[in-house]
Amino acid sequence: MPMHLSLKQPPASPTVPIDASSLCPDRLAGLGRMEVERVPIVIGRLDVALGELFHVSGDDGEAIEVEGGLSSFARVGASMSRGRLVVRGAVGPRAAAGMRGGTFLVDGPAGDHAGEGMTGGLLRIRGDAGDHLAAPVPGAPRGMNRGAILIDGSAGLMAAARMRRGLIAVAGDLGEAAACGMQAGSLFVFGSIGRGAGALLRRGTILALGGTAPLPTFLPAGPLRFPFLEVFFDALESAGFPVPAPARRALYRRHVGDVSGGGAGEIFVPAGTS
């Protein structure tokens, strides 16, 4: 039976950060209920037993379901490498930071830095995500490096910075300066993308179904149909992430850049339908 955690009482807006990285299959799998209740959650400088914050039931820590708004809990699912984690509600900053495998479903919005330094697995956020989605770990030369992030809502500024590999799909809009310094990978946005997308892009693919204004350092070509996009759209739909019909019918104009740095990345913007 999957492990079920139910938040006893939403904490008052904390003045100290809550590190909930122990809410993760890697940490809880194989533990009995009593042991799970003793797993520490770090609030400021204090270790607080998980059992003080959550009602615990079930015994299979490979599949964890958490009930309750965790918007003040940081690093939920951090370093997750296997299993399945579902949060029925919001999660705070740095959810799925360093995620390496498994599936993490957030049935609500996520805070800033979701998927920071991610290197594998599937992160699905059924609400909006904050700024710095899939950001690099501070100081790291590379951002997201493998894995997939699917956002049913919109996301904020600076998403996919220095992204190296993997796929990010956003059903809504994306803020400014997306995919800044992107090195490779794919960023599919079915809404629009704010200004400055792909600045310093080396390689990689950005698709903005709702449009974006590519920087002058991107050179347009097309319009054309690109069969490889269908492969990715199919994979998204097979994973239960809907792809709008216009994305499949569209002819795309391909803007190659950022040529200011010799980059060979691309931004796809619809140029009509065929």
């Binding site: 993997g166 069969p227 492969v231």
Partner: protein
């Protein structure tokens, strides 16, 4: 044993193990997918002289990786290295050159050979690689009917004059069964050919198999060995009507000759299923016997006994 009046000889076909890759060729229309598949599988009747055996596999895939019309193709060779060589040449020369096509792996496997990763250099540095992460690749159509663990899938986008040629980086390779066969012995050449054509049509509905010879039919069946030391195979003299008095013949007095159906398949079960369907379709008026080619168990380890097979498939 008789089927629709035709005698089924108490003998067996002898098939052997080869390596196979399965491709899906897609294009802007069914016509162009079929053209590419036909050209790619040309001159691929026998490993003896062609390096591989290949053919379009029916029926058509329900859904292709890029959602466009497509044709499945099976390519058989003696080894993974031979398969890589053949795929690189055939995909490069016959699929990439065909208007609007793309080419995908359709046989997830631990063992793979390089195809796109060799052809990409045609892009002269403008080729682009796209990777479908393992987190999503498991949900992609090619892997849906398989239990293989999801693996990362890399595609190469090679710029060509009508846009981009998309080809998968690596193609899966598995052991397979080739050389399944049966012989149709008829009263006259026209009736024999018509029976062979019925068999080809019936086998065309069986998934997982190909008939690598022209129109699915072989008229120059071979046997192992030759009087000439350089040759490993020579004409199947016992079934040649013009040699009836010169060699020990396998043709009954009233037979005008024989035609052979050769079947390669993903598994022994696929070849058996196709053999049963083909034999049943071939039997009928004017067809005296159905036999099979074997080499006394010296060539391959897969033996397909005709009578038990037909008894099982009738049940």
């Amino acid at each position: 044993m008789r089927v629709s009046g035709t005698l089924i000889e108490d003998t067996y076909a002898e098939a052997f193990t080869m390596r196979v890759s399965r491709l899906v060729i897609t294009a802007g229309s069914e016509r162009w997918a079929a053209i590419a598949a036909r050209v790619m599988t040309g001159f691929a009747t026998s490993v003896i002289g062609c390096g591989c055996e290949a053919g379009p596999e029916g029926p058509a895939p329900g859904r292709t990786p890029d959602g466009r019309p497509g044709v499945r193709v099976l390519v058989f060779a003696r080894s993974a290295a031979d398969l890589q060589e053949q795929l690189m040449r055939r995909v490069g020369q016959c699929v990439m050159t065909a208007a609007s096509t793309a080419c995908f792996d359709d046989l997830p496997s631990e063992e793979t050979v390089r195809v796109g990763s060799l052809l990409r250099f045609f892009g002269d540095g403008h080729q682009v690689s796209k990777v479908l992460d393992a987190a999503l690749a498991g949900a992609a159509p090619a892997a849906l009917d398989d239990t293989a663990p999801p693996r990362e899938r890399r595609f190469w986008r090679i710029p060509v004059m009508d846009g981009e040629f998309v080809v998968e980086d690596r193609f899966g390779v598995r052991k397979a069964v080739a050389g399944g066969n049966f012989l149709i012995l008829g009263r006259d050449p026209e009736v024999t050919l018509a029976a062979a054509e019925r068999a080809v049509q019936a086998i065309g509905k069986v998934p997982g198999v190909i008939l690598p010879f022209p129109g699915g039919i072989v008229r120059s069946g071979s046997r192992v060995g030759s009087k000439y030391k350089k040759l490993i195979a020579s004409t199947n003299s016992p079934y040649c009507p013009t040699l009836r008095r010169l060699v020990k013949t396998a043709l009954p007095d009233d037979a005008a000759g024989a035609l052979e159906i050769v079947i390669d398949g993903l598994s022994l079960e696929d070849v058996r299923r196709a053999t049963a369907a083909g034999v049943r379709a071939a039997c009928g008026d004017g067809i005296l016997r159905v036999s099979a080619g074997n080499y006394g168990g010296k060539l391959g380890k897969h033996l397909i006994h005709l009578r038990p097979l037909l008894e099982e498939s009738a049940g």
